[in-house]
């Protein structure tokens, strides 16, 4: 048994290294799934943000939020964990005036992501927003957390 | 000290006793390259005290462990009171108590708490016996309330015996029970065991010292390197035994030596520490001592150096090629 243990450990390390460099990773961490999840989450949070600021709340459907996400630099595989860039397009005042919110998204292997707001400043630039009676509240759009099913 | 005077010990009556308390045949056990037991038979009638003897490493502990089911032999059959393990399941060890190697307990519990835990395992009314068991084995009541991690070897042996008593055993299996006891304790252990056997209980005990066991056992099995080299009653063994060896101290060693030369089948030699070593059978020795007296030589001391049985024991368990006599009871 003692002779087997180092061999087992070496075998396990070799297998894991091979898996890492071979690029056969989880196909479930794909652009479409990320886009679906983050656009829906963004829409809900936008409604929440408007409500907290005391503004009229748009309906989710009228927002028509749609995300377009890209992983790393063009040319890298568009599947897998890591840093993604998402552009979320939504309509505030009708289809003629689309707004694009930018997010830098860190996607983990478990299908959860943390999206850091990257503009426009009025939407997700600051971590706080001002509510009624000048209360400072957490800006729901500044940091967007979510998880999607990668299986 | 054990002083077990129990005049009215109830005997095991009203139960159809099987012919043999322990029936082990062909027990074989090996560990890798080493053979611990090689086709060992152990047949013990109820109500006797049977010794399992052998030098260290002969397989005594392995045999006793196999009786308890702690060790599963590669080959062989085992029945306790006519029951086999496969037939009886968990109740196979009902009425069987004892220990293998030094008894071990939970060090963070007291002696009393350990016995309560074990009594709880046994179920029934064993919990009520704890106090009696502690008193019976001579364990100090105050000591029984201390944690076991502070116990001496002798106290552990007593606690092990108490744990065995809780099971109301018909068969007691004890592995070197005299280990760690002083001579007084050993003497009392012998008395207690004799009392138990008189009540109809069967006792199997192991030892590497023939002298300890000689006075108490009815029959023995001698093991050497995992094989049985003798099994039978002690009187049979005595019949086969070579002469014993004695230490003799007289008023005139020179004259005694001369007399030994003239006596029938008596060999004597001078000892460096003083006195003589005399080698003779019991009856020849008796005649020799009487002859010394007639010659005017006083016997100041006569002690067994090695008894006859011990001589036979050493002979049987010597690493010699010659096969030893084998008899069945």
């Amino acid at each position: 048994m003692r002779r087997v243990r180092p061999a087992l450990a070496a075998g396990a390390i070799a297998a894991l290294t091979a898996l890492t460099v071979s690029g056969c990773g989880s196909d479930g961490l794909s652009a479409p799934r990320l886009q679906d999840s983050i656009s829906s989450t963004f829409a809900h949070l936008y409604v929440l943000q408007q409500a907290e600021q005391g503004n009229p709340q748009p309906s989710l459907r009228s927002l028509h939020s749609h995300a377009s996400c890209q992983r790393g630099t063009p040319g890298t595989a568009q599947d897998g964990p890591g840093t993604w860039l998402c552009l979320i397009t939504y309509y505030v005042a009708g289809p003629a005036y689309p707004v694009v919110a930018k997010y830098k998204v860190d996607v983990q292997t478990d299908g959860c992501y943390a999206a850091d707001g990257d503009g426009p400043a009025s939407v997700n630039g600051s971590t706080t927003i001002t509510g009624p009676h000048y209360r400072q509240l957490v800006n729901p759009l500044s940091l967007v957390d979510g998880c999607f099913d990668y299986t | 000290m054990f002083a077990c005077r129990t005049p009215g010990l109830p005997t095991v009556s009203g139960v159809t006793e099987p012919a043999l308390a322990v029936e082990a045949r062909g027990m074989t056990k090996w560990y890798g390259e080493t053979t611990a037991l090689d086709a060992v038979d152990l047949l013990v009638r109820p109500g006797i005290i049977h010794g399992v003897l052998g030098p260290n490493g002969a397989g005594k502990t392995t045999l006793l462990a196999a009786l308890f089911g702690l060790v599963t032999p590669e080959e062989g059959t085992l029945r306790l009171f006519g029951r086999s393990r496969a037939e009886s399941g968990a109740g196979w060890l009902d009425g069987v108590g004892g220990f293998v190697e030094t008894p071990r307990f939970y060090p963070y519990l007291t002696g009393r708490q350990n016995l309560s835990v074990l009594a709880g395992l046994d179920g029934g009314d064993a919990a009520g016996l704890v106090d009696g068991a502690i008193e019976l084995v001579g364990l100090d009541a105050a000591a029984s309330r201390k944690r076991v991690r502070g116990y001496s070897l002798g106290m552990r042996q007593r606690l092990g015996l108490a744990a065995a008593v809780l099971r109301r055993p018909r068969l007691l299996i004890l592995d070197e029970p005299a280990n760690g006891m002083d001579p007084a304790g050993i003497r009392d252990l012998r008395t207690a065991l004799r009392q138990l056997a008189r009540g109809g209980r069967t006792i199997i005990l192991s030892s590497h010292d023939m002298g300890q066991v000689e006075e108490i056992c009815d029959s023995v099995t001698v093991l050497h390197r995992g094989r049985v080299v003798f099994t039978g009653g002690l009187d049979v063994m005595r019949g086969d035994a070579p002469d014993g060896t004695w230490r003799l101290f007289t008023s005139d060693d020179e004259a005694a030596l001369t007399e030994a030369g003239a006596a029938d089948e008596v060999k004597a030699a001078r000892r460096d520490e003083g006195g003589l070593t005399v080698h003779a059978a019991q009856d020849k020795l008796d005649a020799y001592v009487l002859a010394l007296g007639r010659q005017g030589i006083a016997v100041r001391g006569l002690e067994p150096d090695v008894t006859a049985l011990e001589s036979l024991f050493f002979q049987l368990t010597r690493d010699a090629e010659a096969p030893a006599p084998e008899e069945t009871p």
Partner: protein
């Protein structure tokens, strides 16, 4: 220390005793009694009760928010966020170790004290001992889970019952949030039981409490490192630590439970395999007797 006339208990025929309760149950109760006397078990129970309240108090006192965990940014907004932050962190790191402290020791402690030959020479079979000890370790894990569910819920409620922002961006009112929280904590029970079985298996194989407990803790660390690698989906699902994260799906909009069902399968597989190996090895073992 003399005893004059002790009464040696009369030997009774085997069939004459009072009806025995189930042997496994006897062993189970004995193990629970021994567990409840252990200092480490009592310490863990106390920590599980007061720990969540200390965490809540800690967040109350200082203004910083944990940045990189889900629900982290909401800890000062809603009392339901704090237990979820605790769950996110503690689940993978602490729960396996907590259950291993009992599971990794309950068998090997007997080897350590040399007491197998004391308890196995009574009228209880090895299978009764195995089942009794196994059930005792499982009971401890379940009790721990229930304590944590209750105290975390209460501690969170103390912090406030405002609606909490869930992982789908939706605002969840207090009643529904409490339900989701309890379900999330309860979903940790299958992987907890899986790790219990792993701890038992390691302690039976190695007969060492150090390997039993330390092995599970080491496995926890190894799994954390392994999950940093982008593994194929099937492999990730098969890891015993993955089910700890299944609760994420409960808080999404729309909620998804596929991770939970896969987690149930994985946990059950690890539980059965490790339990089976332990059982098989334990039955055949020679109990420590010098050859």
């Amino acid at each position: 220390m003399t005893l004059a006339a002790g009464r040696w208990p009369a030997a009774v025929p085997p069939a004459g005793a009072a009806p025995q309760r189930s042997g496994t149950l006897v062993v189970y109760r004995m193990e629970l009694a021994k567990l409840s006397r252990q200092i480490r078990v009592r310490t863990i129970a106390v920590c599980a009760v007061i720990g969540p309240f200390l965490v809540v108090a800690g967040f109350h006192v200082q203004n910083a928010t944990p940045g990189d965990t889900a629900f982290g940014q909401w800890v000062h907004t809603s009392g339901f966020a704090i237990p979820m932050v605790i769950l996110g962190f503690a689940a993978q790191w602490i729960i396996p170790g907590l259950t291993a402290l009992v599971a990794g020791d309950i068998f090997s402690a007997e080897d350590h004290f040399g007491t197998w030959k004391t308890v196995l020479t009574r009228s209880r079979s090895r299978s009764q001992f195995f089942t009794g000890k196994f059930l005792a370790a499982v009971s401890y894990g379940l009790a721990l889970a229930v304590i944590l569910i209750v105290t975390d819920l209460l501690a969170g409620l103390l912090a406030g019952t405002q609606p909490v922002v869930a992982l789908g961006g939706q605002l969840v009112p207090a009643g529904h949030a409490a339900t989701l929280e309890v379900l999330s904590y309860a979903s940790e029970i299958p992987p907890l039981l899986a790790f219990t079985a792993v701890g038992i298996m390691l302690s039976v194989l190695t007969r060492s409490s150090v390997a039993g407990i330390g092995g599970v803790i080491a496995l926890t660390f190894v799994l954390q490192v392994v999950t940093l690698i982008d593994l194929p989906g099937w492999l990730q699902v098969a890891l015993p630590s993955t089910p700890f994260l299944a609760w994420h799906g409960f808080w999404e909009q729309p909620a998804f439970c596929t991770a939970f069902w896969w987690g149930l399968v994985t946990s059950a597989a690890w539980f059965v395999v490790c339990g089976g190996v332990s059982w098989w090895v334990f039955r055949r073992r020679t109990i420590g007797v010098a050859a």
